[in-house]
Amino acid sequence: MAEKILQIKGISKEFSKVRVLNNIKVDIEKGEIFGIIGENGAGKSTLIKIISGLYVPTEGEIYFEDKRITEFKPQTARELGISLIPQEFNLINELSVFENIFLGKEYQKIILLDKKRMIKKSEELLAMLHTQIQPTDKIQDLSVAKKQMIEIAKALAYESKLLIMDEPTTVLTGSEIELLFKLMNRLKEKGVTIIYISHKLKEVREICDRVMVLRDGQQIEIEDTKRMDEHKMATSMVGRELSQIFPKKNQPEVETVLRVENLSVKGVLEDISFDLKKGEILGFAGLVGAGRTEVAETLMGIRKKTSGKVFIKEEEITIKNPTDAVKHSIAYLSEDRQGTGIITTFDIIGNITLSSIDNYCKLLINHKKEREQAKHYVDSFNIRAASLKTRLEFFSGGNQQKVSLAKSLDTKPDIFIVDEPTRGIDVNAKREIYRFLTDLASKGISCIFISSELEEILGMCTRVVVMREGKITGILSEKELSEKEIMLYATGLKGVA
């Protein structure tokens, strides 16, 4: 029986009388990797925020190394040696990479900052994570994937006894994830304890020793992962049997709705050419930094293209800004929900109708119509929220993602570009979203499906564009589709790189 590093004794949490965690009891052993799974809004993040001193529990006690935590402050948690990779990015755009990595724990010479040492240490960390980020880069200019790696580096930057990771792999591709797991195992050997939250049950099973299942703030079970498989986890999370997760693919029509010719963005994209059929779900696969997001952003007019042509229904169009894109009924679900997707200080209604407000007002806004539409989305994606008037900052990550999806959908697009659409979404909701997108497709709406989860690419797409370093290395038809094949193109072992 190994020693217990963390004892959670009957923890409960209420937000304005709403109970989101109820009487959680668990002891976490030193040096184990402890998984927490549960549907969106189950209370996972809340629990670990309490552990890391960001929230104060309504009831219950927490013991760290047999000492009772008396005051819940980030400072005390840090002094105890608890470090957190939060679900949402926590990086200062104005500061550089190394400044972020060491924020709050700077090295000093007497009273002055020891930048040399911090930069050097950052280089080591980033090298360890196999990223080609420079310590002096500005956060602002980095892609989400890179930001995620920096978050990881940040957590590793100083010796912590308990490392908490809240969905660290949502935007990472296979290779980075493998890397991360290697790291985690190495830390484990060093005796570091890790709490790992994820909706990717396969990973949970692979990396965790034990897993705790939460449902609506209730602790359902704690099991040894050896005795769990993904199906069992899913059922226990949702509380009922889940049928086949991917729906039957919809066969696209012959008509081409979107054609892109030699699209280039200096330094980011080069000669991107592909076409999109009516009712097709066209996958975009690639490693981190492949430039898929940039393709989307360029199509939306967020990035200025340096050359290339875009045709809709065979006629050339120019898109200078998102407004133009929406006019041509193209919608984009951003991969960075809090950065560019939703307004966290708005409620559901305000967010969902933000890009589509014209459909709700002549001169004045028709609030009733808005509310009904919002209700409709809340039901169809079962978005968990105290009320329609609750601000999004109080939503769980996954529920925010659902709202973000609803928002871009509400512009009633013909061409729908989704970037990591199921980022941080639980299995059950994923099923819903997959079905939803397939329905759209069968209704003749075309979809560009950017994802880092090969599984869902394979499960959803009839054709897949594979990118590498800003170039398209191959476009795989349904027959050629396989995990192995995609990886060959993505890593440049196959196709013109």
């Binding site: 937000f15 967020i302 708005f346 305000g350 407000i357 007002c361 806004i365 601000r391 109080f394």
Partner: protein, 318 residues
């Protein structure tokens, strides 16, 4: 911390200003026998209308995350030129109409100037309007040779002095505009967009909102409110003094907005609150006179009340 505050104190955000007003009102009623006299209350309302109206426009600007320091000197300039037009046209009813239209056009124009530099030039609103504050004032001085603009119309004063159904005209206009602005903010897409831009510009941009356009119009609108005030003021005084008409209006207007519970950081705001805020400031000035507070200490009292009025709203959140 913040989160839970916003969460618990939500209704407070809405009713805080009203509470502050209520408290101040009760205190005043007891402190001075003159306070509750209708004439006094009417005076207060009229006195607050001028900066209050500007405050309405300022609320929009602040919601978009901006600020306008030039409103004070703009009032002087617009009012001054308005009077010149009035006199040139001979001071009759038509002259007044033309002058008013001219003033509003001017106000919108000056606002547009601010807006253009801010949005196209990408210069901080604070600095742009700090600059135009100096510019507008100096143009006023230049045109009038540091003197006064005097209207020769003896009809004009009626506009600003007159009563309608027992309320002074400026008060009616204040109320009317408040309602209009409330509708714009809460029931039109323009209002929605202003909030979106104020709370997260990037998201707004990704959501296909024409950021520059929205922000630009916020400054045009505040310019128009300035024009309205300028007309009311100049007709009330039947003149505009180039050197100190409208001085410190920017501060009063902004104070009203913030006392009204609108966040300096933008993203959300309340027209209703701004009206309350303006009235609070008016009552303070009124009481300082009614209670005959020492001229030297008036500033202290006023400062304390302003801070207190906002503090109440916060504290009760806990």
């Amino acid at each position: 911390m913040k989160i839970s505050k916003v969460f618990k104190g939500f209704s407070m955000e809405k009713w805080g200003p009203l509470l502050a007003l209520a408290i101040l009102f009760v205190i005043s009623a007891f402190a001075s026998p003159y306070f509750l006299k209708t004439r006094n209350l009417l005076n207060i309302l009229r006195q607050v209308s001028y900066t209050g109206i500007i405050g309405l426009g300022m609320t929009f600007v602040i919601i978009t995350g901006g600020i306008d320091l030039s409103v004070g000197s703009m009032t002087a300039l617009v009012g001054g030129i308005g009077i010149l037009v009035l006199n040139a046209m001979g001071g009759g009813p038509w002259a007044i109409l033309v002058a008013v239209i001219a003033a509003i056009a001017l106000g919108a124009g000056f606002g547009a100037a601010n807006g253009i530099i801010i949005t196209k030039g990408k210069v901080a609103p604070f600095i742009v309007t700090l600059g135009t504050m100096a510019i507008f004032r100096s143009l006023t001085l230049y045109i009038s040779g540091a003197g006064e603009f005097r209207s020769q119309s003896n009809l004009f004063p009626e506009v600003g002095m007159g009563y309608f159904l027992g309320l002074p005209n400026p008060v009616w206009i204040f109320i009317g505009l408040a309602v209009l602005f409330w509708i714009i903010l809460n029931h039109t897409k323009y209002g929605r967009y202003m909030c979106a831009i104020g709370s997260n510009e990037r998201v707004a941009k990704y959501s296909a909102i024409k950021i520059d356009k929205i922000r630009f119009f916020a400054y045009v609108i505040v310019g128009i409110t300035v024009a309205v005030t300028a007309v009311l003021l100049s007709s009330r005084l039947n003149s505009i003094s180039s050197s100190n008409a409208g001085q410190n209006y920017e501060l009063d207007a902004i104070a009203a907005v913030i006392i009204g519970g609108t966040a300096m950081s933008g993203g959300s705001g309340s027209i209703f609150g701004t009206v309350i805020g303006a009235i609070i400031l008016g009552i303070v000035n009124n009481m300082l006179n009614m209670l005959g507070v020492s001229p030297y200490l008036q500033g202290t009292v006023k400062g304390l009340v302003i801070i207190g009025a906002v503090l109440i709203q916060r504290k009760n959140n806990k």
